[in-house]
Symmetry: C2
Subunit: 337 residues, 2 copies
């Protein structure tokens, strides 16, 4: 694809939501000019994805790569209880990727932006020898009510929104050599790969937890429960205990773990990119929170542990306690937010 | 430098201006949370710089690279008449760069952010095989008064803020082989290289032109007068004529051009990265605009041409007219804003 066609496609998308999203000027000037919403704060998150570090084009289609680029950032907005509004997209592209690739990739990006009613307002496209994608999302949060990592209180119960370890399981299947046969059914295989490739950020849940004012502390599970909860504990100057028996693990991840002879708990605690939400709740508001969250999730959230005094994250299993602070997944990357 | 030290340094910087810059939460959560200024719009610009495409570490020090990364984005904010407030910085780093490099680079970034009172509020750092830097700047502009590319009117006079072609001249000197001797004095050499390495974005000028309401149309000269004015003409549905004799060219660029036997006009029209401002003004407000601009620049702005009916950019020289539409500098990149 000619670079100018790529730009044209991005511009077309950017004009879709102009009026409804307070875009005074989108693509086409030195800056995008945007009108912030009254009585809102801005929430900003940015991710860089590098080929072979964060994704492998043997395992993910161009369309799904575009989609996941957006979803991972939407999950960060979900974690603060925000509403995503605007995106900038920077692409450092390499040779050797054909028109179909770029078409599919841009469609993946644009379809997903559209799904979440996000407008593309700018970006930059440059040549490189390594495909590198940078997406920055700007959203709106409610002042005083946005969800933060540093607001967990001793005695709070810890909840997560869905099964943990599925994404890591999907990645394990994708990483198998062609020679390694795995006696797993198509349905399990497809479910786990889908959970890795097409995660579902918990945007509605985050917005509800924020707007109802029931909850103050949340994080999205991008680096595994052990690491992400460690962030919450460190920022909140508290500790946490996780009950192994309470961790929600899907039938499919349990099946896979048996086949691979690994512990499903390892996947659930240390596997990244589940993009579920973790939040903490004072027991006094638990009933209302559970009712509202269940409406959105279609199932009850999972109670997995408790915020404690002290520091560090511990796993309680068979009456034993084991420290698991920061034992999470690393992409070979760390983030400043 | 350990990655965590790098992050620590960035965090230290980010906390410097927190209170004065409406930062509710900077680095350390899923999103940065920011309070937009009342009665302002946001202006957003983003650049990706790739090693060997946009910079060569043989020619630019780590400190100056950090500095220029910020300056190029500040220039985009200047072009809309904005005030830069917040930055996110994404670094894809490669092996083989030592602690001194990272120290100097981060100092270059942070010193320059501080000079412009910009706060670093987030980012991402990842491993790669190619050093790739992405900076996104968010600023504030005055609604209805921000400067745009699409507001030039037929009959407007075209002004630029400073000498053109110096940066391209500096780059030519840097690109000479060791074998190519150039009989240029140290003072000329240093001036031109400095204009390439340490450009001075015209932030105060842009803010004045916007806030006084005298001017509606501006662009920063990052890709050369011929290309940047072509953007203005295309967006404004107009044409332009440039008078060759009026183009401001420094003594140093004239000297260099003689030595290299090239036309100084080529450097001025097609050389990139001068980061001067170009704006158009109705003759009726010319006197006041010139008075105010002269106060800021310390010299009168340069009147270089006129907005005309029709389309395309033409150069008038020795009574002849030649089309120069989009004959500018390309980094091998194009931008979506």
């Amino acid at each position: 694809m000619k670079e100018l066609e790529l730009i044209k496609k991005l511009k077309q998308h950017s004009s879709l939501h102009g009026e409804t999203k307070n875009i005074i000027k989108g693509i086409g000037d030195d800056c995008a000019i945007l009108k912030p919403e009254l009585n809102s704060y801005l929430s900003i998150t940015t991710d860089t994805l590098v080929e072979k570090i964060h994704f492998d084009l043997n395992f993910i289609s161009a369309y799904d790569l575009g989609k996941k680029t957006v979803l991972a950032n939407v999950s960060d907005i979900a974690a603060v209880g925000g509403t995503p509004l605007w995106a900038t997209l920077n692409i450092a592209f390499r040779n050797g990727l054909n028109d179909n690739f770029w078409n599919d990739f841009i469609n993946g990006i644009c379809d997903t932006l559209q799904e979440y009613k996000i407008s593309l307002v700018g970006g930059d496209t440059v040549a490189s020898s390594v495909l590198t994608i940078n997406l920055t999302l700007i959203g709106a949060v409610i002042p005083e009510k946005w969800l933060r990592r540093d607001a967990a209180k001793v005695g709070d119960k810890i909840y997560v929104s869905g099964y943990l370890g599925d994404s890591a399981g999907g990645l394990k299947i994708l990483n198998l050599n062609n020679n390694e046969k795995l006696d797993i059914g198509d349905s399990d295989r497809n479910y786990l790969i889908k959970r890795h490739i097409n995660p579902s950020p918990q945007l509605e849940l985050g917005k509800m937890l924020s707007s109802k004012g029931l909850v103050a502390c949340a994080i999205d599970l991008s680096d595994g429960l052990a690491t992400d909860l460690s962030h919450v504990c460190e920022e909140s100057c508290a500790g946490a205990i996780i009950f192994a028996d309470n961790i929600p693990i899907s039938r499919e991840t349990n099946n896979l773990s048996k086949l691979l002879r690994i512990s499903p708990l390892e996947l659930a605690l240390k596997g990244g990119e589940d993009f579920e939400l973790l939040w903490t709740a004072n027991p006094s508001i638990e009933d209302e929170m559970l009712k509202e969250a269940t409406k959105i999730l279609g199932h009850r959230p999972y109670y997995v542990g408790q915020i404690t005094e002290g520091k560090g994250v511990f796993l309680e299993q068979n009456g034993q306690k084991e420290e698991i602070t920061y034992q999470g997944y690393e992409h070979g990357s760390y983030k400043t937010n």
